[in-house]
Point group: C2
Chain length 172, copies 2
């Protein structure tokens, strides 16, 4: 192999590497304005419950990380243990074209999270809140104060450790 070919090959390898790095950075999901990073792998978490909101026109699935699932299935959610993460995945409602009276997931609206840390998130009731919008996963909120909205909405269920969801019943 001649030197110019070697150099060209080297430059190609470097530029390809740079392109991949830039692409990877573009695809990375930015943290929420309060610094919370999107939990990895939440799409593979197990189910706590589905729900449907007639006032919001959306159908949902509440998933949990391993700590949350263990707590939910053991009925130990009062309070939820530190490290538990609840993910609420929200889709626009859609009428199933093959079964008209069925409501099924349409467009992906957002994924939002409650991360339990009694000490770490003491100022917001022991939970860290974050939300990412759309399949592009854009962080929700202009600044860190966005959590005031989350806390205000969840405060009516303070006696339930701020969680609306009751884990669905499964056979033992």
């Amino acid at each position: 192999m001649k030197r110019p070919v070697l150099i060209a090959g080297f430059l190609l390898a470097v530029s390809t590497g740079l392109t991949f790095t830039a692409f990877a950075k573009e695809k990375a999901v930015p943290p929420a304005p309060n610094g919370i990073e999107i939990p990895k792998d939440y799409k593979n978490w197990r189910l706590i419950a589905p729900s449907y909101r007639t006032d919001h026109g959306s159908i949902r699935a509440i998933l949990g990380n391993d700590i949350a699932i263990e707590a939910a299935r053991a009925g130990k959610t009062s309070p939820w243990p530190d490290g538990a993460i609840l993910a609420k995945i929200v889709w626009k409602e859609r009428k199933d074209e093959h079964w008209e009276p069925a409501i099924v997931p349409g467009k992906f609206i957002h994924a939002e999270f409650m991360i339990k840390g009694a000490q770490k998130y003491e100022k917001t009731g022991g939970w860290g809140y974050a939300r990412w919008l759309g399949t592009e996963q854009k962080p929700y909120g202009e600044d860190a104060e966005f959590v005031d909205e989350c806390v205000a909405c969840h405060t009516p269920v303070k006696s339930r450790d701020y969680v609306f969801t009751t884990p669905a019943i499964f056979p033992k």
Copy 2:
């Protein structure tokens, strides 16, 4: 230790063992009338989609085994691959007492399954069907002919490989 104590200890151990064995047998879930065994560990499967049926007053989660999830997320469901299992978990609808316009899972109604086996289940469109009722998981159907009901209901979506569910959209 004196002999009577040893004998008493031995009898206690034997009877405890028998009790546990009997209990374990009582808890085993009988197969469906067509011989299909309830898939193990389905409660820990990942989500394909939630749904809500206004005509049935029930809210559902469609879960999949690993083969089904891989196919669903890769968009390779036409047809679904052999070995894919879809679990539909059905709960009676309930109004959330803390958020009135929300419909959430109440009583557990049943878990039903579609098991893909193009050859094995050729007579029923390439899918094996089974359902277990309630948290006691009682097999559905008087005899093996119960599948006629399943096939009849799913035949309108034959062009979708007999599956109503469209996998919910997730971010990449």
